[in-house]
Symmetry: C2
């Protein structure tokens, strides 16, 4: 059994030793660049921890773990184009530093590399690992499309939102864990509980992200506070506020959302005040806790010694109390 | 044994019955649209014909054949964004009809669908089919990057060009054939000869495309004649002309290439005249024939009855004499 930090170091080491370099330069340099940015490596670490939970051999799990990380970074590279984002982890995005065509094609290449890495495992589990990976990849694409659809759609419910973040964010963590379990030879029930643990942790993780954007310490969070508010991003906080606001707050909130010309700092300040009056921070925290509790429930159902679950429990806890 | 037309009908039927539909609409509609455009279905037909050449059971080859076609259309969808192309097969491109973000994400989804279809085959050949598919997908991305690099690069040789079209175009046909052979249980030598047959046919196919752009019947070819000339596309014809031109032709050719403001029809006319004086049409035809002969050589090496090869030989011949 290894700690989170030890697994993270293993991922970093293997990632630096695995050849994702090549020619033409403009195809491969963005891949190295993207993977060199500071990152939590949450998903590959989760995959490896899941493998160890069921006494699996890490050597069959390491390359699929990298595959998940490469896939995740491919989605970020393409999402950044779609979101027109200038920065990623405080560094220039690939389409800004190079250009958009390069970000499209390097992303495509990363996806193929991810598929290749996923295959470096036992023949016995190959088909089930790949089937799960592909199914999840489809869901991640659907989640991103829903997220884009929500920008212009009216009447998005909290349930719609939870469905969207489940696909866009949570299923990849869930699948990382389940793949680790499959590689270790876990039985279907245990693997499914682990999947549910990951899915609910992922949902809670995204709700925490929504909270940090508004109520976090912007120096630690690494991006400008209130970015979601400025962009009218339909987060849990905004959707809940739209649901609860009445009278003056309702008028003000709708006016901030519909005005295309505004001072960003003023908008963030005003909308945060409305959030505070409506108590949406607390409601988001409750929703987050609900999913965290559900995650822990499923972790508890897994039939391995409790002590062995401490790595994954610790990981989930850390994600909930993080300040960035 | 089925004819090319029978195999093409089978591909059309299976493609229409295979569910590539879904929600969200903006993610899946472009996929259906792209796959509904008139197409030769060259690669899936080649895969199926290769399977039959070695007496394989088509039922294990049909879904991978669709996978190859879906993959090919994914690359077209992304290439069209990168090339800023308004039309594809005389219809609007996806990024024009919808928008660019949708073309990126629908393309990504198509790639995953292609991977899923590739897996619907025997466990016995799963790993080798996927490894070949992934390796080829990487080469196709590298070929596209080289093609983009060539736009601004000086001193591209004919060899550079042949390498680029091998990756961008030829290897996918080669791989389609080899996958058909692998699924049918062909031995490695036969599979490799079939790969070389496909690779050389693919190179000849692209040279034919270059020729048709300038010397083809534009009504039949379905796109404006001389598009490559207008765009200074470094085709075999232009590279050969740059190699051979001297004196006045050299000055004129370089001036047409470097001038950013020109009348398109005039440019096409003038450059075609230079091509005619230098005899590059004939040289391109010779290069095409050289690869076609090489393709047939490899087909002849395959240890199956000659009569069974007639479908693939006919397919290659048809590609060389096509007018569109």
């Amino acid at each position: 059994m290894h700690s989170i930090d030890e697994l993270k170091n293993l991922v970093a080491k293997e990632l630096s030793e695995t050849s994702l370099k090549g020619s033409p330069k403009d195809l491969y340099d963005p891949i190295s660049y993207m993977l060199s940015l500071e990152a939590k490596r949450l998903r590959p670490v989760a995959l490896l921890a899941a493998c160890e939970l069921f006494d699996g051999d890490l050597k069959h799990a390491v390359m699929p773990a990298l595959g998940i990380e490469v896939f995740h970074n491919f989605t970020l590279m393409h999402d950044d184009i779609m979101d027109n984002a200038p920065l990623r982890r405080s560094s220039q995005t690939v389409h800004t530093r190079w250009n958009q065509n390069i970000a499209i094609l390097s992303g495509d290449t990363m996806f193929v590399k991810a598929c290749q890495l996923m295959m470096i495992t036992n023949d016995k589990v190959l088909r089930s690992v790949l089937e799960l990976f592909h199914e999840t990849a489809i869901q991640v694409c659907e989640g991103q499309q829903l997220d884009m659809d929500f920008e212009t759609a009216a009447d998005i419910s909290i349930d719609d939102y939870l469905h969207m973040i489940t696909y866009k964010t949570a299923v990849l963590l869930a699948t990382s864990l389940k793949i680790g379990a499959i590689i270790a030879g876990a039985d279907a029930t245990n693997a499914e509980h682990l999947y549910e643990f990951g899915k609910n942790t992922g949902i809670a993780f995204q709700l925490k992200d929504d909270l940090l954007d508004v109520f976090g310490d912007d120096k630690k969070f690494g991006k400008l506070k209130g970015g979601d508010i400025v962009a009218n991003k339909k987060t849990f906080l905004l959707l809940k506020a739209l649901e609860l606001a009445t009278g003056d707050d309702k008028v003000k909130l709708n006016s901030w959302i519909s005005n295309s010309s505004f001072n960003a700092a003023e908008k963030v300040h005003a909308v945060t005040e409305i959030y505070n009056r409506l108590g949406v921070e607390k409601l988001a925290e409750q929703e987050m806790s609900r999913h965290f509790e559900k995650a822990i429930f499923h972790l508890n159902q897994i039939s391995t010694p409790d002590l062995k679950k401490s790595v994954l429990r610790g990981m989930a806890e850390k994600l909930m109390v993080r300040e960035m």
